[in-house]
Point group: C2
Amino acid sequence: MRSKKKVSIKDIARLSGVSVATVSRVINHNGRFSEETRERVEAVIREYQYTTDMTGKSLREKKTHTIGVIVPDITNELFAAIVLELEKYFFDQGYSVLICNTNEEDKKEAAYFKILESKAVDGIICISGSEDLPEHIVKSGIPIVCIDRKPKGKSDVVYVESDHYLGGYIATEALIKKGCRKILILSKQKALSVNTQRLSGYLDALRDYGLPVLPEHIVGLLDDDSNFQGAKDRIFYMAKKNLSFDGIFATNDWRAYGALVALQQNHIAVPEQVKIVGFDGSSVSEYCYPAITTIQQNKKELALRAAQALLEQMAGKAAEEHRIVLPVALVERGTT
Amino acid sequence: MRSKKKVSIKDIARLSGVSVATVSRVINHNGRFSEETRERVEAVIREYQYTTDMTGKSLREKKTHTIGVIVPDITNELFAAIVLELEKYFFDQGYSVLICNTNEEDKKEAAYFKILESKAVDGIICISGSEDLPEHIVKSGIPIVCIDRKPKGKSDVVYVESDHYLGGYIATEALIKKGCRKILILSKQKALSVNTQRLSGYLDALRDYGLPVLPEHIVGLLDDDSNFQGAKDRIFYMAKKNLSFDGIFATNDWRAYGALVALQQNHIAVPEQVKIVGFDGSSVSEYCYPAITTIQQNKKELALRAAQALLEQMAGKAAEEHRIVLPVALVERGTT
């Protein structure tokens, strides 16, 4: 019994006693070979279980029908849901999706962009990240669309995002309308476009309702802080010292949940003494007690619009709009 | 300004006025070309930003330093956590990880196995799935290790799994020790090895403690039922009709949570009237109210052992054991 190890097209040629070009023609059903040759080559292929190598094929056809998706953290529910929607959509359109998890490490991200390039994907969707998208990546030549991530500098890259400004505004407004006057924003320090936009919404809502902006109310967690634990520690400390706030706009549901737990541990009643609004619509906001009022992002639509934009780009069409912004919605629950 | 589109090795050869073989030798620093040729080829490569195509390279070197991971549902927290651990471990060992989400569709799974083969991955980790792993996939020739999934029939494939039998046993025992006498198992009908093992543990615990097995207490959800909604509907119906049980062993935390909500909606007190134990240690079990007692799987160790087994196989070593079983632990919370 012969070993069934994968063989190269070169091996097939050698074993069939024909040229590589002939094997290639047989595989691609591209005329110019005798019936006898076809039979010989196909017998060898069967014998060695040679599967048409898509990457080899891609060097010829320049299409691999494969899409790469770069995601910073697959365990982030929002990202996982978007990836799932992308996969479903692309698969139905005849594309396979290769997912790469960068763990929010820039070095890893660069490595995965290179890998996807070398695997000859037809296009890349890049979801979020720890930095705005570096220019050298944007210029790699492969069609690319970003979700929730702004490409750095001037660039033609299409990006799809939720209306983070609107989210920040309606979250803050919801707290104000429920009677909060001292509203804290609990975000990350890093000046990512999503953070900056949510902060703008918060600031504009305060201004529109005539409330002052206090530096102590702008709380930015460090990069290394986990959303839940970082928020919990910070709010625990602030609540113990001196409760200087009656509302929290947390720019992520896990931060909102961390804040909720910290308040509960300090016997501060939510929503009676402090109200909380989160962001994303993650399951934790739905299943904790009390359930957290949040800003819901439209994951399905984010995926769909990004996928469509990428397919258009792959078909050589120029993008009509480079920034696609999708509305968000307030979901009222127990913390307001 | 010239376009920076990706060019093939053939284009480089044409533009440099040399053969493809020569370009290949230059790229691989493999002697037999003049200094002048090297300079000319490298200039063209620089000009066109040609990146060495790893897949082309792989056909020569037969190693791509890429691992494929097949996962049925990336939004399943347990699977996502395992994938994350796999990615981290492999990346540190110099391997990139391409993740494929099959959406629990057998057709899609087969397609992704083919894709990974064509992308010339060095090995595949296959997590769970809707069926035990089909034989033709096991025999594809690429090293493969399964997590939480038994290969079909007799096979040499290594698989790593939690001790599902033990999990089923200690979950049931925990309920018995808390006073439950009428314990329901809430599982899936499909005879997957994980389901079968958990059921065995449940049955043996009942037997060891002298409790009868009642057919009405073995509740199997259909494949199409969602874990949460399916469990909720089923338990809602059973609780409304006639509360014939005082304990529920749900073989998944979302099913446990569905049962909890259904009981609460029927004003049945948990844990006073009915106690619940889940399985997996998902965040929902931790953050719902009351938090759910569960069987914790060791996600990190599952990933680590599978990764190590795959690397050994890739290095040509024979597996010492084909089934690696990891212990599970009871985490006691509010529902017992």
